[in-house]
């Protein structure tokens, strides 16, 4: 085994990832979910729900990025996207997609960002 690099860990996360996602791979299910997609719950968590689904619904009463969900629930990004794919399929959450890269050329958006930064 190599020495773990700085900022990198080799640990038991894959097992947990496997457990919470039922072993499914993310590739087929999470298309379009980005680190900064904003998730908003459409319903309260219900008893009997898988606990990770309930955690997400509880967390996302207000818009919450997938990065924040991953951080607060201490789950890898791709595990969160797999869980979210289920919730999206059942219409239990709303996804507010991030602005696409084409907006790099949108001067209205660029000015909006500048105005926001100017207030810092």
């Amino acid at each position: 085994m190599r020495e773990p690099d700085e900022g990198v860990e080799e640990e038991g996360t894959p097992d947990r990832l496997y457990a919470v996602t039922g072993g499914r791979t993310q590739a087929s299910r999470d298309a379009g979910l980005d680190l900064v997609s904003l998730i908003v719950s459409r319903q309260e968590p219900r008893p009997g729900m898988p606990p990770e689904h309930a955690d997400i619904l509880r967390l996302c009463g207000n818009p919450t990025s997938i990065a924040e969900i991953s951080s607060y629930l201490a789950l890898p990004f791709s595990a969160v996207t797999v869980l979210l794919a289920d919730l999206v399929e059942r219409d239990q959450v709303e996804v507010r997609a991030p602005l696409p890269a084409a907006h790099r050329r949108n001067t209205t958006l660029i000015k909006e960002v500048m105005d926001g930064l100017g207030k810092l």
Binding site: G7, E9, L35, V36, L38, V40, S71, Y72, E112, V113
Partner: protein, 220 residues
């Protein structure tokens, strides 16, 4: 990985050892209003210890958080006699912060981990990003060559920010441009990542650059 909690406020310039401990949810004051409809992101890249986490922390309205991803890569030091490539799963952590730009739009800043080989493996990290900040330390410029090449290849617009460490050789912007072989239009700025205003100015520089590019698209 250091996960210990700290009460350092996000505006003080938070270094990597003061990343917030994982919690089950945001503090009340960190909850975004329901009116927020979309997010944009900027990625901060640079070598080990160049000040990425500090920059994110100095401008973020929340204490920087940490997200992680598991990545599978071919093993290193594999026993060749077996003829099988061992897969090694690594967990890569990334710090991020947030700036509410107005009641509809929020900006996320991601500070990449020191290990460069993972930056472009993180699926989607650069895809929708408005752009990137390449943070450089003039004592170790060489770590920046590869990432600059990768950003150019992916057509991710970037500015170069020279984080002023004490004792680092002072470079005029044009010397730095030559050393990094940067095209004339790529902005180079000096910064002190610990200072909110200085970090904000770096982001502002990136936005001015994007604005120029939008008006003269042939340059990118």
């Amino acid at each position: 990985m250091d996960w210990e909690s700290s009460d350092t406020s996000a505006s003080d310039g938070v270094a990597s050892d003061t990343i917030a401990a994982p919690r089950r949810g945001p503090r009340k004051e960190d909850v975004l209003p329901a009116s927020v409809t979309a997010a944009v992101k900027i990625v901060i890249v640079g070598g080990f210890g160049v000040g990425k986490t500090t920059l994110v922390g100095s401008v973020s309205e929340i204490r920087p958080l940490r997200t992680e991803e598991t990545m599978t890569q071919a093993g290193v030091g594999v026993d060749d006699t077996l003829g099988v490539e061992e897969k090694v799963t690594t967990t890569v952590a990334m710090d991020f912060g947030r700036i509410s730009l107005n009641d509809r739009l929020v900006l996320y800043l991601f500070g990449t981990p020191g290990q460069q080989r993972f930056w472009f493996l993180w699926r989607g990290l650069f895809d929708g990003a408005l752009g990137a900040v390449v943070l450089v330390d003039t004592r170790r410029l060489e770590v920046s060559f590869d990432v600059i090449g990768q950003l150019e290849e992916r057509q991710v617009p970037f500015v170069v920010a020279n984080n002023a460490f004490p004792g680092a050789p002072r470079h005029a912007a044009e010397e730095l441009r030559a050393a990094l072989d940067l095209p004339q239009h790529v902005p180079i700025v000096d910064c002190d990542a610990r200072q909110r205003a200085s970090s904000r100015d770096v982001l502002m520089k990136l936005m001015h650059y994007l604005h120029d590019l939008a008006l003269t698209p042939e340059r990118l």
